[in-house]
């Protein structure tokens, strides 16, 4: 197994069969108990905040704010009904979907060809560009947020979805290029050569041969970009002002102001935000780490 391909993929291949390449000698009972015990504790810690919020979201407001520990207390979907029908939550949800979807589309379409060029060709400026991509991942939100805010203010774009999409693209575009380069690297170069023997130019090869093959990688990159935009808060809080324009990241905090926080609304909202993110995430996660670290592990 070569690390120079995508390590994440190997993990999946092994785990689905539950069979690592090498047989190990049998474990003692004590070692087995320790192994499972440790993992169970870890799983418990990983899950209990999620489960606790889920359980709390089903309780009435007075029971959430009680010191008495109980798993259920008059479970009902009242909090959800309240969030969905009496607050701007659905509106924020829609805004988040729109912003994340546009970020994703722009991120992918602007960077797919760059990922391919970086994977296949040696051209002057390649190393510099790779360096820039890495550098943008290092940018603190603090350095771009102010200048982008002042630019948006000049363009009268503050408090619009467009301003957020533009801000998110600063991270999404280099990230997508970086990820996709990793995926294109896993597609054999022989295909390019065959295509060029058949008379396709570099653009034809990319468009008609490589891109269709890279569809899974493309999907994963797209989903991950979507999730990043879905969970972003700093730009959202800074740029958005009116209640109906907020995205989820900026909106959720409205449920818990310093005085009179409404944890019943917050817990229900948190669950509603997490469900779509979780579904998308579990689709994307298998290939994700491979793509992220493949660039770094290449010699």
């Amino acid at each position: 197994m070569a690390i120079s391909t995508i390590p994440g993929n190997e993990v999946v291949a092994d785990l689905t069969s539950d069979r690592p390449p090498k047989q190990r000698r049998e474990r003692s009972v004590l070692a087995s108990v320790l192994l499972h015990g440790t993992l169970l504790v870890a799983v418990l810690i990983a899950l209990f905040p999620v489960i606790w919020v889920l359980l709390s979201s089903l309780k009435p407001a007075y029971a959430i704010q009680s010191t008495h520990i109980e798993l259920f207390n008059h479970p009902s979907l009242d909090n959800y009904r309240h969030v969905l029908f009496d607050t701007s939550f659905p509106r924020w949800f829609l805004n988040s979907v729109v912003v994340a979807a546009f970020t994703m589309l722009i991120g992918i379409s602007m960077s797919a060809t760059a990922g391919y060029a970086l994977s296949r060709f040696n051209f002057p400026g390649k190393r510099g560009l790779m360096w820039v991509f890495l550098l943008t991942q290092m940018f603190p939100v603090a350095i771009l947020i102010v200048p982008i805010y002042t630019i948006m203010a000049k363009l009268n774009l503050i408090d619009t979805k467009a301003s957020l999409v533009i801000a998110y693209c600063t991270v999404a575009v280099p990230f997508c290029a970086w990820m996709m380069r990793g995926y294109f690297d896993t597609i054999p170069r022989e295909l390019d050569e065959a295509a060029s023997l058949d008379g396709l130019g570099p653009f034809g090869t990319f468009w008609r041969v490589i891109l269709p093959l890279a569809r899974p990688g493309l999907a994963v990159t797209a989903f991950y970009t979507f999730l990043t935009a879905w969970g972003e808060v700093a730009y959202a809080i800074a740029f958005l002002q009116t209640d109906k324009n907020l995205t989820l990241g900026a909106g959720l905090q409205q449920f818990v102001p310093r005085y009179n926080p409404q944890w019943d609304l917050l817990t229900a909202g948190a669950v509603l935000i997490t469900i779509p993110a979780g579904v998308v995430f579990f689709f994307a996660q298998r290939h994700l780490v491979g793509g992220l670290t493949a660039g770094g592990t290449k010699g």
Partner: protein, 342 residues
């Protein structure tokens, strides 16, 4: 990754970009003929990066040398005249160039609380990355064994990664709530006193670190698991035939074998944690009295809360970026000294 081995160079995606003078005429022309499609392919990205990253970056650096804030940001002041027209005059109090004043003010502590936030950032980053890595490595090693149900364990263990960071932040704030939070309830259940988590600097920081460790471990675990599975298993076989103890195997096979993956994830993890905005912002909110603010949240509050001080925030931004770049270059140099190709 060989591409990052070079010193930063501008990306000449533009074929007309100035190039070193060439002896033979027509070399530029031939280079263009050979590379034009590669350049054309990276062009969209380069244009986007130039417009959205480079231009604001330059502007941000410039702003850090001015006294720009909410009140003096307009170039012109427009007033409505009789008859519905508007009349615009240049703003006499327009933001002006102040040289290094912002930097001296910030670094001497005259404005803002840079050093307190710096200290917080360092503690925060080291604590988070340390626990991310050690816990992630421990779990990865356990999951790398062969036993029933390990794919189920793996899926369950990455659940925290699937939760958006700001939702995790609110969830843990809920758990750490001093009045009715589950954590204090459990402490009281076993006969201890509840803790006023957000009334003291280090307990508040502890709560934030716990939150961030919880949500960051899965990434490390999955990345390191990938690294572990790429280590040649024959090495372990050979080592155990030679009588190496498990600890020796771990020291001499596992850790060196993981080096390429671990060096990348530690670098990335440090940068991400350093810039981690939502956890501090929502979990501690700087409580008590701004004592748990890190640099990134400090910059954000300077720019967007109270009287908006854009130049101060820009100065913070430049300082944070410089710190990270110094760190990254030292880190890479250290790796290269150990003979690591990165």
């Amino acid at each position: 990754m060989s591409a990052t081995d070079v010193t930063p160079a501008p990306a000449p995606s533009d074929p007309d970009a100035p190039r070193p003078p060439t002896r033979e005429p027509g070399r530029l022309r031939r280079s263009f003929d050979r590379h034009w499609y590669a350049w054309a392919m990276v062009l969209p990205t380069v244009v986007v990066l130039g417009a959205l990253v480079l231009a604001p970056l330059v502007q941000g650096i410039y702003q850090s040398f001015t006294d720009l804030n909410e009140s003096n940001q307009r170039d012109t002041i427009c007033t409505k005249t009789l008859g519905g027209g508007t009349e615009c005059k240049p703003n006499p109090d327009k933001a002006k160039f102040v040289g290094l004043k912002n930097y001296t003010d910030v670094l001497s502590g005259e404005r803002g609380r840079f050093w307190l936030q710096f200290e917080n950032t360092i503690v925060w980053t080291i604590a988070c990355v340390f626990f991310h890595f050690t816990i992630g490595l421990g779990l990865a090693i356990l999951l790398n064994r062969r036993f029933r149900g390990r794919s189920l364990y793996r899926v369950l263990l990455i659940v925290p990664w699937a939760v958006p960071a700001f939702v995790s932040a609110f969830s843990w704030k809920f758990l750490f709530n001093p009045k009715f939070g589950l954590i204090n309830s459990m402490l009281e259940h076993v006969g201890l006193n509840g803790v006023e988590w957000f009334n003291h600097r280090w307990t508040a920081m502890f709560a934030a670190v716990v939150t961030n460790v919880w949500l960051g471990v899965p990434f490390m675990m999955v990345a390191l698991l990938g690294g572990l599975q790429s280590i040649n298993q024959d090495l372990y076989e050979a080592a155990s035939i030679d009588g190496a103890s498990p600890w020796q195997q771990f020291r001499n096979i596992t850790l060196p074998g993981l080096r390429p993956v671990s060096s990348t994830v530690i670098l990335l993890g440090t940068i991400w944690t350093f810039n981690m905005f939502p956890i501090i912002y929502f979990v501690t909110g700087g409580q008590p009295a701004g004592q748990t603010e890190i640099l990134v949240t400090g910059a954000f509050r300077a720019a967007f809360e109270g009287v908006r001080n854009y130049s101060l925030a820009a100065t913070y931004g430049v300082l944070i970026l410089s710190l990270l770049m110094v760190y990254a270059s030292f880190y890479r140099r250290a790796l290269r000294k150990q003979g690591e190709v990165f």
